[in-house]
């Protein structure tokens, strides 16, 4: 059943999304890579992202904070300093101006936190029913320092894999809000800017590559990296930071935290960092829960998880969004 129409699976960030980008956009636009950001001169980096989320307001953020931090993070992962943002809005007829103000204020606050200026934008209104409240697209522009060259090709056997805190928080917050699961304590999205953490890691001289682990979670990113580098990866389940509420949610619905979305987490590849450096990292904002969770290794060919009882299992790229189970 090769699909001839777009399904939600094509937007999951997993295998179907990759296929669609490769078959349609990559081919027609004749792009050199499948990235969501690009260098337009030696030192100038641009990145763009569209944001649709339901509910629009949730614990830990809203569509506004997502749209600013999401693009700031995309720009930051190259090691660039994000400077400017453009923002476009598609708004449904009947949308509350009070809510719009709230969203725009949160965008401005998020931009100020990262010393980024929103410099231009566009607004379109569509008929009631033709969009779901509001959609936002942001484009970020940043400057790459001269001596920085972060790339998956830098990754080597022996490198460590580091995250800056608990995984799956954003998905947990959204699922809890959408499904009214009333989890206690209520999970909150981790929506946050990651520029500072990338810069800290750059200063240690140990950083080789970083990526913000949004849709598809860290498992999808690790698979993308394996496809590019062909280097084996083992993640240690016991080292993966996860909040208890998120764990309960995963157990309840049969979901795997490694595939859940984050909005304030990066996964980075570093050459052996000292305990002191990790200690310093944990003092940085949004990195309190930082942890080394695995390594690049020639023990395996592929991406694997070593679980709590010591057995290895493959951690694959999923075709589409994971579906919650029935019982």
């Amino acid at each position: 059943m090769k699909e001839d129409i777009i399904t939600l699976g094509h937007g999951s960030g997993a295998g179907l999304t990759h296929e669609l980008i490769a078959d349609v956009f990559h081919k027609e636009f004749n792009l050199p890579s499948l990235d969501d950001s690009a260098r337009i001169s030696n030192r100038m980096v641009v990145s763009t992202d569209s944001f649709v989320v339901k509910p629009l307001f949730f614990a830990g953020g809203c569509i506004g904070t997502l749209s600013v931090n999401g693009t700031i993070n995309d720009v930051s992962m190259s090691g660039s300093k994000p400077l400017y943002l453009l923002a476009s809005f598609i708004i449904e007829e009947g949308f509350s101006i009070k809510d719009l103000k709230k969203i725009v204020q949160s965008m401005q606050q998020s931009a100020e936190e990262s010393q980024v200026r929103i410099i231009a934008g566009d607004t379109k209104v569509v008929k009631r029913g033709e969009c779901d409240g509001i959609y936002i697209t942001t484009t970020g522009i940043g400057i790459l320092p001269e001596d920085v060259n972060l790339s998956a090709t830098n990754i080597q056997i022996g490198d460590e894999i580091l995250v800056n805190g608990t995984l799956g928080d954003h998905s947990a917050a959204i699922i809890n809000a959408r499904q009214k699961l009333m989890l206690d304590p209520m999970p909150a999205s981790d929506c946050a800017p990651l520029y500072g953490i990338v810069q800290f890691l750059l200063r240690t001289g140990k950083l080789k590559f970083a990526r913000d682990a949004t849709r598809g979670g860290i498992a999808t990113i690790l698979n993308e990296i394996y496809r590019e580098t062909k280097l084996g990866i083992i993640i240690e389940e016991d080292l993966v930071p996860i909040k208890n509420t998120t764990k309960v949610l995963c157990d309840l619905l049969g979901l795997d935290v490694l595939y859940l979305a984050n909005e304030g987490k990066l996964i980075s590849f570093v050459s052996a960092m000292t305990q002191e450096m990790i200690g310093e990292l944990k003092k940085q904002k949004y990195a309190e829960g930082a942890a080394v969770i695995g390594k690049v290794t020639d023990e395996v060919d592929g991406v694997y998880l070593r679980n709590s009882i010591g057995s290895l299992r493959p951690l694959r790229m999923l075709a589409s969004d994971p579906l919650p189970r029935i019982c």
């Binding site: 059943m1 090769k2 699909e3 129409i5 777009i6 399904t7 939600l8 699976g9 295998g15 179907l16 499904q179 699961l181 619905l253 049969g254 395996v300 060919d301 592929g302 991406v303 694997y304 679980n307 709590s308 009882i309 010591g310 057995s311 290895l312 299992r313 493959p314 694959r316 999923l318 075709a319 589409s320 994971p322 579906l323 919650p324 189970r325 029935i326 019982c327």
Partner: protein
């Protein structure tokens, strides 16, 4: 409860070491999708000695749902369909619900049947009532709520199935050689262990009800191996399961549903293994309200097994039936990981996240 001790590697290894003293070849079947996934996820097959074979039976409600159900739903007009997520990619002969949604069918993924009830207050809603004993009490409660609230735009397509009659049917098949069962944990919370007492009595085959943590599973296997000469039903999951089960939930099922024969994809018609909505609540019975032909074994059988691939998207070479019966393991099917993958599932066992083929695809083959 802190479950960490159930993941203690030392304890697990100690039990596994004890298992290696068992020399006979033995075939153990699990009949719960969550067990199938847990066994894969924890790498239990590779951990235990090779002479102990774990095979996956009909443990996933999606896998045993006839594809004709999907066709019937896709052809419905003007009704909102509320379904659990697993069902969205189950292939019918004219596509699946996810594709139908992209073409305009109003399909909502829900987590609880009560969400469907809420939906029906805004628009006419049909809830696809799929599940085993774990899920059925919630569906029964939802119907009783619809009745109490005198809702008119809510109905349930009852596809509920009962595990014990399916086990009975499997055991009565002479071709199937199973030495013992890992019995479902969550289903047994509702049914109690007494539901399985016919197994040792009638067939001289024992079973162990166990939980889903690695230690639960290996200890379950160990206990099962210990009773081979004197088969019985063992409760290793006593932190959740009792002898009599949850009698309130049983009463709720009994109030709303009556037992009927049911068609299981891959297994055929099994007597007294399904549930239909009682006449007192027939206004909520979607099969009556919309005249849906879900109970016709002829239609279902054709879609499941004998229809050529040109007529049905379910390939004629699909061996889900043999897999559900434990006759072959997924990697022995010619379609597995060639034509049939989670991107493009041909058979039901590949669709559900808890189907045997999906579990093997994820966990039981090399990375490539």
């Amino acid at each position: 409860m802190d479950l960490r001790s159930f993941r203690n590697p030392k304890l697990v290894r100690q039990v596994v070491k004890d298992l290696s003293e068992y020399r006979n070849e033995v075939k153990i079947m699990e009949v719960c999708g969550t067990h199938t996934m847990a066994i894969g996820k924890w790498g239990i097959r590779k951990l235990i000695p090779e002479n102990i074979k774990l095979i996956s039976g009909p443990g996933c409600p999606v896998c045993v749902t006839p594809s004709s159900v999907i066709d019937e739903l896709i052809n419905l007009e003007g009704v909102t369909i509320a379904s659990f997520g697993d069902l969205l990619r189950l292939p019918g002969s004219i596509g699946n619900l996810e594709q139908a949604r992209a073409k305009g069918l109003d399909v909502h993924t829900i987590y609880s049947p009560l969400e469907a009830l809420e939906l029906s207050k805004q628009k006419e809603t049909l809830f696809v009532g799929i599940g085993f004993e774990t899920t059925i009490p919630g569906i029964a409660y939802t119907i009783s709520e619809a009745h109490r609230l005198k809702l008119t735009d809510f109905s349930v397509l009852s596809l509920g199935k009962l595990i014990a009659p399916a086990l009975d049917a499997l055991l009565s098949d002479k071709q199937i050689e199973i030495d013992g069962f890992i019995l479902p944990g969550h289903v047994s919370v509702i049914t109690g262990t007494d539901a399985y007492s016919f197994m040792p009595e009638k067939y001289r085959v024992g079973g162990v009800v166990t939980g889903f943590e690695p230690l639960d599973i290996v200890v379950g296997i160990q206990k099962l191996l210990g009773q081979m000469t004197r088969p019985q039903i063992i409760n290793e999951y006593s932190r959740a399961v009792t002898k009599k089960g949850n009698q309130n939930a049983q009463a709720m099922i009994e109030r709303i549903f009556e037992v009927s024969n049911a068609f299981w994809r891959g297994l055929g018609k099994i007597p007294s293994s399904g549930l239909i909505i009682r006449d007192e609540y027939s206004q909520f019975d979607a099969s009556k309200k919309y005249g849906l032909m879900v109970e016709s074994p002829e239609v279902s059988l054709a879609a499941c097994q004998s229809a050529p691939a040109s007529v049905s998207n379910v390939s004629a070479n699909c061996r889900c039936g043999d897999i559900l019966k434990g006759k072959i393991i997924p990697i022995e099917c010619a379609l597995f990981n060639s034509e049939c993958t989670p991107d493009n599932p041909l058979g039901p066992c590949m669709v559900s996240s808890e189907g045997s083929c999906a579990a093997y695809y994820l966990y039981e083959r090399g990375y490539q």
